[in-house]
Assembly symmetry: C2
Homo-oligomer: 413 residues x 2
C-alpha cells in the first residue's frame, strides 16, 4: 500500500493536469484551473514543473486571439517529442506495430502478415523484436529513445506480472512475454489483453472520450471483453483480464459451450467449411476470405449464411445482456472486423439484448458498432504505456493488504 504523502498528492494533481491537456487539447492555465478545481497557483506550479521536464510546451501560435482584451492566455500542449513508445498487436495472422509520440500520434506503423498461430513463443518473440527494431528505425528514431513497449494479444493476460496465462495464438501457457521483451530490447515492455488496448484507445481517442464507464466487445477470431469502470480499466482479482470467449453458456441441448465456440468468427466459419465440402466455394477462396464471401451471400439473401450470422449474434446477445445487467454501462461498443459490422449479425444481437434486459435496465445502455481499425489497436497499446509515463497514481491508496507477520492475532474485532 502507498501511504498518502505530499508526493502522492502532487502525483495525483499532476496527472489531472496532464489528463486535462491530453483530453481537451492545448489549453491555458486558467482553463486547467477551472477544469480541475485546482487553484491557479497550484496549476502554475505544476505546469512549471511539467514545462521544466519538457512534458508540455507553450503553443507558439500567437494567433490564438480569443476575442477580448486582457493578457492573452498561453496555451499549453503536450510535447509530442517528450517520449516515444511502441505498440504491438498480435493476432493469429499478423503482427501489427506502430511507433507513436507522446501525444499518441502514429509516426510509423508496420504490419507483418505472418501466421503466428503455430509458432512457439520464442519464435514470436524473435519476430516481435525484429519488428519493433525495424519500425523504430524506420521512424527515424533509435531504440534507446523508446520509453516503453506494450504488446496486446488475445487471451488471458496478467498484466502486472507480464505473463500471458493462456492465449489462442500460443501453444504454451504462462508465457512471460513482458520480461522476455524487456530483456530483448532493453526497453520496459508490458503486455495486456488486446481488448484492453482497444478499450483504452476508445477512451483516449475514440467514441468514449466523455465516458468513464463502457464496455468493448471485440468480435474476431476470438471474443474479447474490455471494461472501463470508473474511468479505469477493470481487471479481475489478480489483475487478470477476462476473456469473454471463456464465458460458458447453456447450449440448446442443455449442456455447456464456450461462447467463443458459438459466437465468434470461427464458429460462423464452420458454416463456410460446410459450403466448401459441398463444393459451393472453392478452396482458394476459403483461405482468408471466407468471411467476406459469407457476408456477401448473406447480403444477397442466402438464408443459410444469414442464419449462421444470426445465431452468432443471438448467442453474443445473451452474453451482452448479462454484462449489461452486471455493469450497467451507458455504452457498449461492439468492435471487430467485417462480421461485427454486418447487420445480419448486429441486428439479431440488438434484438436479443432488447428482449432479455429487464425493464429496469432497458434503456441504460447504448449499443454501438465500431469499425475495426488497425491503427486504433496500436494506438491503444501506445496509450497504455503513455498512461504510465503520465504517472497515473490510481489504485495506490486502497485498503492495506494483510501481512501476517505483523498481525498479532487476527482474532475478534
Amino acid at each position: 500500500m502507498k501511504t498518502a504523502d505530499p508526493e502522492l498528492m502532487r502525483a495525483i494533481n499532476r496527472f489531472h493536469v496532464m489528463d486535462a491537456i491530453r483530453r481537451f487539447g492545448p489549453m491555458s492555465r486558467v482553463e486547467i484551473s477551472q477544469l480541475t478545481d485546482l487553484s491557479s497557483t497550484t496549476v502554475s506550479a505544476i505546469t512549471a514543473a511539467l514545462l521544466d521536464d519538457r512534458l508540455i510546451m507553450p503553443l507558439q501560435l500567437g494567433a490564438v486571439r480569443d476575442a477580448g482584451r486582457g493578457r492573452p492566455r498561453v496555451m499549453l500542449r503536450l510535447n509530442p517529442d517528450a517520449a516515444h513508445v511502441v505498440g504491438v498487436k498480435l493476432a493469429h495472422d499478423q503482427i501489427m506495430l506502430a511507433v507513436t509520440n507522446f501525444c499518441g500520434d502514429i509516426l510509423r506503423s508496420l504490419a507483418l502478415p505472418i501466421r503466428i498461430d503455430r509458432q512457439t513463443a520464442s519464435v514470436i518473440g524473435d519476430l516481435v523484436e525484429d519488428g519493433v527494431r525495424r519500425c523504430v528505425s524506420d521512424s527515424g528514431l533509435d531504440i534507446a529513445q523508446i520509453s516503453g513497449v506494450c504488446v496486446g494479444l488475445p487471451g488471458v493476460v496478467e498484466r502486472a506480472a507480464g505473463v500471458c496465462r493462456q492465449s489462442p495464438i500460443l501453444q504454451e501457457r504462462d508465457v512471460p512475454f513482458g520480461a522476455d521483451l524487456s530483456h530483448r530490447l532493453g526497453v520496459p515492455a508490458s503486455i495486456d489483453s488486446d481488448v484492453n488496448l482497444v478499450t483504452l484507445a476508445e477512451h483516449w481517442f475514440g467514441q468514449a472520450r466523455d465516458l468513464n464507464d463502457f464496455l468493448v466487445v471485440n468480435v474476431e477470431r476470438n471474443l474479447g471483453l474490455g471494461i472501463l469502470h470508473n474511468g479505469d480499466l477493470f481487471r479481475g482479482a489478480n489483475g487478470l483480464s477476462p476473456d469473454l470467449g471463456d464465458l460458458m453458456v447453456r447450449s440448446p441441448d442443455g449442456g455447456g459451450e464456450r461462447l467463443a465456440d458459438i459466437a465468434s468468427e470461427a464458429s460462423v466459419l464452420t458454416e463456410a467449411d460446410a459450403l466448401l465440402r459441398e463444393g459451393e466455394i472453392d478452396a482458394t477462396l476459403h483461405q482468408g476470405r471466407a468471411m467476406a464471401f459469407l457476408l456477401k451471400r448473406a447480403a444477397a439473401g442466402d438464408k443459410r449464411c444469414a442464419c449462421a450470422l444470426a445465431a452468432a449474434g443471438e448467442a453474443l446477445g445473451f452474453a451482452v445482456a448479462s454484462l449489461i445487467a452486471l455493469f450497467a454501462p451507458p455504452k457498449v461498443i461492439i468492435s471487430g472486423r467485417a462480421m461485427a459490422t454486418s447487420d445480419h449479425f448486429i441486428e439479431p444481437l440488438r434484438k436479443t439484448v432488447a428482449a432479455l434486459l429487464p425493464a429496469s435496465l432497458a434503456d441504460v445502455s447504448d449499443i454501438v458498432v465500431r469499425e475495426w481499425s488497425d491503427e486504433n489497436w496500436v494506438r491503444g497499446a501506445a496509450a497504455m504505456t503513455l498512461r504510465d509515463l503520465y504517472g497515473a497514481p490510481w489504485g495506490t491508496t486502497g485498503p492495506a493488504p494483510i501481512r501476517e507477520a505483523l498481525v498479532p492475532s487476527l482474532g475478534e474485532s
Copy 2:
C-alpha cells in the same frame, strides 16, 4: 472531482489507521505504523486526533504484558460508544433490524415476521420506521443518538441516489427509500442491495476478512450477487448494484430465461407446488415450510426432489462459472437459507463449475458455503454506515468528469 489537498491526505491516512484497528483489534501505535507504512510520528498525530474525537480509546487492561522490556505499548481500540447505527434488512416475509455500536457489535435486534410482499412502499416505510424506533428504544438509546440507518433489500438499488429501482418485494419502481426514511427518522438513512450488505459483513467480520476480492452469491427467494473488488464493493456504472436474478441464461429449449426463474428457491418450490396438487403434501405445510420438506425428501432419497435441487444447482453453476471467468476471485461464497447449504444443491453446482471453467481458471476460485445468519445481514447494514463514519475517501480522486461548459472544443487530442 476532488482535488488532492492536505485534507484528503489526512483523510486517507486516518482511514488507514481506523481500518487497521478495526480489522486487527486493539493495537499499539508501533503496530499501526508498521502495518500502514506511516511514520510513527504521523500515527501519533492521527491517533491523537482520533482520541480527541473519542473515536478510539486506550485499552485499559494493564495486563498486556507483552514479554520483553522497554516501555509497554499502549493498545488502542475503537470506542464502542463513539456512534450507534441501525441496520435493517427487508425480505419478502420479514423485517430484520439491529442496533449496533461503533464496533459493529449488535446491541439489540428485532425480527418482524411480516409479509411485506404485498404492501405498498409507504406502508413498508411505516413498518420500518416503527421497527427502528422500537429497536432503538429497546437498546436503551435515544433516536437522536443514532448516527445512521442503512436498509438492505433485494433488487436493483442505486445507493448513491437512495433509490430502489426495482425490487421483488416492491410493486412500485424507483422508490426513494433513502430520503423517505431520513425524513421520517431525522437520521441519515441509506439503502443498498441486500447482498452488498452481507458482502461487506463477510469482509468486515466474516470469512473474507483477509481477502480483497471475492464474490457472494446469495440464494434465497431471489438471487443476489455481491462483488468485492480491490477491497471495495463493486457497483455498476451508475452506482447500480447488479441483480444476479436478472442475468439471462439460455434455457434448454433455446430461448432465454431469467436465472432467478430456474435457480432460486422460488423455482425449486414450483416442484413443491406440483406435489401439493398431487396431494403429497397438505396445504398447511406448504405455507413457509415447503422448502424444509423438500430438502428432507431429497435427503431421504426422493429422486424427484433431488433432481429439482440439482437442476437449480447446475443452472447457478453456469452463472458462477461465468462470474469466475470475469472476476477471477480467489473465493466465492454461496450464502443463503436452507437450500443453499444442501448438498443436493451445492454438489451439482460445484460439479458444473468445475466442468465449465477453462483450465487457466480451474484453480483460482475456492467455492465455500456460508450458512445464512440474520445477524450477519444486519451487521453488514451497520457496517455500511460505519464505513462512512470512518471517513473512507475512496473513489474521490478519479479522473475528472467532463463539464461541457468549460470545455472549449473537445476537438482532437
